[in-house]
């Protein structure tokens, strides 16, 4: 008998596989809703998984760069504070020098001025060796030791490096964490190298009686103090510009982080509304398929035969 029949086994196999397909879909959608992510394995969407990896990498860097930027901002802020004090200090020194250069100020007055100038010199030295919140010198470049050293004769020399290192604070952007001390406190006067310490020190010595003509010495020192002020002002400008730059970069970072998060969410997060609708649809299909199966499978001739 070569007739073709509708095999009972085939009907059950077909119905079972269709229902288990539906059940699998429901399970997958449920997992998506529960975990909040569209896929658990990269092979479910290789291209999106690769993009997610690059987003995750970018986010990891963004976090670190954000920390770095905050840190650079703090260091630059500390340096700016110190520079402000240094400028005020040099202005006071200039006033005192002008007083000393005026003839009516007598020797006693000059001695008093010399004492104050000495104090200012001390303060200048300690400000030049100021440290950041975490204890690193602000003006020593890449060195971790003190920026300026005073020898037994009272001469102050720069002990740091001529460059301060740059810190990456955004993709492709690195900002130097400060200014080396030689650019803040050292300068040329009439073509010969000098420093704020040397100018103040020399003037103090002259006013304490070290010079035959203290008025002339004071007049001569004004040029050096002006140069020191100029240098300090220039440094303030540079630091201020960098602070503004850092702030701008931080702002951009915030915006970029939001963009990254959006991108990650679009690539990998479950669209809950969509998933719930699909779940409902599949559930309905499964229920319908189950009840159809139950009804069709009871339709055998054996039931009709009594």
């Amino acid at each position: 008998m070569g007739s073709i029949t509708n095999s009972t086994g085939s009907f059950f196999n077909r119905s079972l596989s269709q229902m288990s397909d539906l059940r699998g879909q429901i399970e997958r959608t449920r997992t998506q809703i529960a975990t909040g992510s569209k896929f658990e394995r990269g092979s479910q969407d290789p291209a999106a998984a690769a993009q997610l990896r690059s987003v995750a990498r970018r986010e990891a860097f963004s976090r670190v760069e954000g920390d770095n930027a905050a840190r650079v901002g703090q260091d630059l802020g500390a340096a700016a504070d110190e520079l402000e004090s240094v400028t005020a200090l040099l202005q006071r020194a200039r006033e005192l020098t002008l007083q000393a250069a005026s003839t009516p100020t007598g020797p006693d007055g000059r001695r008093a001025i010399a004492i104050e100038l000495e104090q200012l010199g001390q303060e200048l030295f300690s400000r030049a060796n100021a440290t950041s919140l975490t204890g690193e010198p602000l003006f020593a470049g890449q060195s971790s030791g003190p920026a300026f050293i005073r020898d037994a004769l009272g001469n102050v020399t720069y002990a740091g490096t001529p460059q301060s290192g740059a810190i990456p604070i955004a993709q492709g952007t690195a900002i130097e964490r400060g200014l080396p001390g030689n650019e803040v406190f050292q300068f040329d006067v009439n073509g010969s190298p000098s420093s704020a310490f040397a100018v103040l020190g020399a003037l103090t010595t002259a006013l304490q009686g070290g010079a035959a003509d203290p008025v002339a010495a004071a007049n001569a020192a004004i040029e050096g103090i002006d140069a020191a002020l100029d240098t300090a002002n220039r440094a303030t400008t540079i630091i201020g510009t960098r602070m503004a730059w850092t702030e701008q970069v931080q702002q951009q970072q915030g915006e970029r982080n939001i963009a990254l998060a959006e991108r990650r969410s679009r690539l990998g997060d479950t669209d809950i509304a969509d998933a719930v609708a699909r779940l409902q649809q599949t559930l309905t299909a499964l229920e319908a398929s189950q009840s159809a199966f139950a009804r069709v499978s009871s339709l055998t001739l054996f039931d009709a035969l009594r």
């Binding site: 990269g42 092979s43 969407d45 290789p46 990498r57 990891a60 860097f61 920390d67 890449q142």
Partner: protein, 446 residues
């Protein structure tokens, strides 16, 4: 005269009873996937005697013929080939999915990114002990992730190998079984229930073999099946009552080699071919993973050698090891990280050397890009295999449905047969009753 009616009625009773038995047998085996439904052929029995030109017919009723088994060589073959192809795709898919989870969830990529990130953070203040320590610890985590990835990949490979070895034993058992069935089939009489059962067993053995290897069987006139395994070159597994033995061996890199009766061959279908191809893929993955580990080791150690540590001394190696399984951190203390370039003083905050290492790690040739490419390649491959397996499962299911339609039991048909045969049985008993009445009538003549 009435005795002929008796004989006819009795033959009809016998035929319907035997048909009923077969129907009952069909119904009992409705859920047996290896059962092919049976039917009973019947022939009219007429005896003709002739003397000279006078011929006389004597009706003898019906003769129950042979038990016929529904079969269709073509559909059987389609179902076998489809299941071979599906098994190959599924075996490869399941094996590689395991490998994918091994490499993806072990976090090699995340470890590399964290290592890069902690080095970038260290640039902010290269002498801060906490940052240095965190950089070294992230290197340790990276090494750990590499070792986990390696171990899980090895584990996945071992599972596939163990499965291949176990299934080779099953194949040998089935081949032996088929050889015995062949021997029995030669002696089995045509049209008997015993022969039909042997043919069922033969088809079951062939289907079992087809799941593991692509086969091209030859069905001989006496019903015996000779089996060639498809591959390069094709080899004979079962010839008549003789079965060869399949063996599988594994090379050092984990790839599988197959031999039948000592002759090596490469299978082209079935789960074994899928496993062989998955093992070859895994060997490639192992090479890729080892290359990533070596790249991380080499870049870090050469950067260390190019720079000086916090105390101004030349940097020692950060990692030891020759691959993903052996990578480990050997730097004794976090002070030993060579952040500053060679020639820098002790306590230098110069990060040129550190920046060079970060750039090398992040370069398109560096391990991070390598890990990304490895994962992308693997997940694309797994995704393609999944699609293929899904497609083939539809093909296999429809071939299976076709086969069941040709050979399976339809309960409705059997129910109708039951009614029909019951009626036939009752009608035949009626014939005997009538014959008996006739006989009684004759005996009652006075």
């Amino acid at each position: 005269m009435p005795s002929a009616i008796f004989t006819i009625g009795r033959s009809g009773l016998t035929a319907s009873r035997r048909s009923l038995e077969l129907t009952a047998q069909n119904i009992a085996n409705a859920e047996n996937v290896n059962y092919s439904r049976r039917t009973l052929t019947q022939g009219e029995l007429v005896m003709t005697g002739s003397i000279g030109t006078i011929a006389q017919d004597s009706l003898g009723g019906v003769r129950p013929g042979a038990i016929e088994r529904a079969e269709s060589m073509l559909v059987q073959r389609q179902a076998r080939d489809a299941s071979s192809a599906l098994s190959a795709a599924e075996a490869e898919f399941f094996a590689l999915r395991e490998a994918e989870s091994a490499i993806e969830t072990s976090g090699v990529f995340t470890g590399l990114v964290d290592f890069e990130a902690s080095l970038t953070r260290l640039q902010n203040n290269p002498l801060e002990p906490a940052l240095r320590l965190s950089a070294v610890e992230s290197a340790r985590k990276l090494a750990g992730n590499f070792r986990i990835a390696n171990a899980t990949l090895v584990n996945a490979r071992n599972l596939v190998q163990a499965e291949a070895s176990a299934e080779a034993l099953t194949v040998n058992e089935r081949a032996q079984e088929l050889a015995e069935i062949n021997a029995d089939l030669v002696g089995a009489r045509e049209g008997t229930a015993g022969r039909a059962a042997l043919l069922d067993a033969r088809d079951k053995a062939l289907r079992g073999l087809a799941e593991e290897f692509g086969i091209s069987p030859t069905i001989n006139a006496d019903g015996t099946a000779d089996v060639m395994l498809s591959g390069t070159p094709p080899v004979a597994l079962v010839t008549g009552a003789v079965a060869s033995s399949v063996s599988v061996t594994f090379a050092a890199d984990g790839t599988a080699a197959f031999a039948v009766g000592g002759a090596t061959f490469t299978p082209t279908g079935g789960a074994m071919a899928g496993r062989a191809s998955a093992l070859a893929e895994m060997a490639g993955l192992q090479t890729g993973l080892d290359a990533l580990a070596v790249s991380a080791i080499t870049l870090s150690n050469s950067a260390q050698a190019n720079g000086v540590d916090a105390n101004g001394a030349p940097g020692g190696p950060l990692f030891s090891g020759t691959g993903a399984g052996t990578i480990n951190v050997v730097l004794a203390s976090a002070d030993g990280l060579a952040t500053a370039p060679a020639g820098a003083a002790a306590g230098s905050r110069d990060t040129a050397n550190l920046a060079a290492l970060i750039a090398a790690l992040a370069a398109p040739t560096g391990p991070t890009s390598g890990a990304d490419a490895l994962l992308l390649g693997l997940s694309s491959k797994v995704s393609a295999l999944e699609t293929r397996a899904q497609g083939l499962s539809v093909v296999a299911a429809s071939a299976e449905a076709e086969l069941l339609r040709e050979t399976g039991v339809d309960l409705d048909t059997e129910a109708a047969n039951l009614v029909r045969l019951q009626q036939a049985f009752e009608a035949n008993s009626r014939v005997i009753q009538v014959a008996s009445t006739l006989f009684d009538t004759i005996l009652g003549l006075r």
